[in-house]
């Protein structure tokens, strides 16, 4: 008798968080593959997972490795392409290849009267294009809700270094998308939490402070 819950419950509880992380790290095109690889691999190893393990941290750790695999496979596929694609690819995004201050793709600023409207897709894109370590720290801490000690265990290095990488990532996003700091985002935050969305850790504001 293991007392371990059926794997279906693991998928129900953590499927959407892992998908969010995969989309943040790889972009929408490759997120499906990374998610599938993550959960298939987790299912295989599940009987051997210690009963007291932190399942979410375990899944994010697997997703982290699978995202690296997917990125490498995509990079191999991309080698024969002579010209750089118009849109930022998942590969350059995953490797943090887009130069800072690059022009935002998509509809940022399409609504001149928006008064700081957040273009959510653009913000998602911007996160995907952050340098790898910053992106990973932001995704694992703010999207998956892992404490910096767990983020550090995944990325290597210290919790302090993970905290700094996340803060640098947030600061960089804020420079690209100053509108994301305006009133509507605050309202969205409240709405998201009210709707039961996993909130960023309670100490987020302090830790995000540069």
């Amino acid at each position: 008798m293991t007392g371990k819950q059926p794997f279906e419950s693991v998928v129900s509880a953590h499927g959407s968080t892992v998908l969010r992380v995969c989309r943040a790290i790889l972009g929408p095109a490759d997120a499906d593959d990374a998610w599938s690889e993550t959960f298939l691999s987790a299912l295989k190893a599940y009987p051997d997972l210690p009963a007291d393990a932190n399942v979410e941290a375990w899944l994010v750790t697997i997703a982290h490795r699978k995202a690296i695999d997917v990125t490498r496979a995509a990079a191999r596929r991309a080698i024969p392409v002579a010209e750089a694609p118009e849109t930022p690819s998942a590969v350059s995004g995953a490797l943090g290849g887009r130069p800072p201050g690059g022009q935002a793709p998509g509809g940022w600023g399409r609504d001149p009267e928006g008064g700081g409207l957040v273009a959510d897709d653009d913000l998602a894109d911007a996160l995907t294009r952050l340098p790898a370590k910053q992106k990973q720290a932001v995704a694992y801490h703010y999207l998956a809700g892992l404490p910096y000690a767990d983020v550090a265990a995944i990325l290597g290095g210290t919790a302090e270094a993970a905290r700094r990488a996340a803060a640098d990532g947030i600061a960089r996003l804020r420079r690209s998308y100053p509108g994301a700091g305006a009133g509507r985002a605050a309202a969205l935050t409240t709405a998201g939490r009210a709707a039961g969305r996993p909130a960023a850790p309670r100490t987020a504001s302090k830790e995000a402070s540069p």
Binding site: Q5, E8, S16, L43, G181, A186, T190, A200
Partner: protein
């Protein structure tokens, strides 16, 4: 600028995608089946006696459970006794769902499904293996079943075997009734037992 806003906006930038998750779940179940790591597949079907949980290993149907038993509790018990590698994966239960549908429509009198008997052992399993000998639309007393199972005095043990039948409906413990003709207990509740006996009487 409120420094808490960017994390909130980020959470908002990655909304849930229920359709995508559902598609990914289907893909996961298929991959798990193909790799031989889907130890237990399950689905829930509607029936005249309420929702029925059907669970199967690669060997065959291992569990049929009434809502009364608590489907979550039954799945947890399967995780403990068989394997925690459990996914909702309707495909493996297609044949079982079809045969049970036909049974409730009165068109099927015997089941031809492969069964995984591992949740039942010893004398209980012996008893259960004899139950299909009680024909559709008929009943037998606990005493008669004890004789069928080769232990005429083990009437009480027959009661226990029926009460713990992991495969109700398919293995017809509902056909075992008290010697005085009253129904006796049932895992799915007395109403379910009566409904099955009434169905079989009408369709026999």
């Amino acid at each position: 600028m409120n420094i808490d806003d960017m994390p909130g906006a980020l959470a908002q930038a990655f909304p849930d995608h229920p359709d995508q998750l559902s598609r990914l779940h289907t893909r996961l179940a298929a991959a798990a089946q193909q790799d031989g790591v889907l130890d237990v597949a399950y689905r829930v079907i509607d029936s005249p006696v309420g929702p029925l949980l059907l669970a199967a290993t690669e060997q065959g149907l291992i569990r049929v459970a009434f809502a009364l038993e608590g489907h979550d509790a039954v799945l947890q018990s399967l995780a403990d006794k068989v394997s925690p590698r459990i996914l909702s994966a309707p495909g493996r239960l297609d044949a079982a769902a079809r045969e049970i549908d036909e049974y409730f429509a009165g068109r099927r009198h015997t089941f031809g499904l492969p069964l995984d008997w591992r949740l039942s052992a010893g004398f209980r399993r012996t008893v259960l293996s004899h139950l299909p000998e009680i024909g559709y639309g008929h009943t037998a007393s606990y005493t008669a079943v004890a004789q069928l199972a080769g232990s005429p005095k083990a009437v009480r043990a027959v009661g226990t075997a029926c009460a713990t039948n992991p495969l109700p409906v398919v293995v017809p413990c509902h056909r075992v009734v008290r010697a005085n003709g009253s129904m006796g207990g049932y895992r799915g509740g007395p109403e379910a037992k009566r409904a099955l006996l009434t169905l079989e009487e009408a369709a026999a």
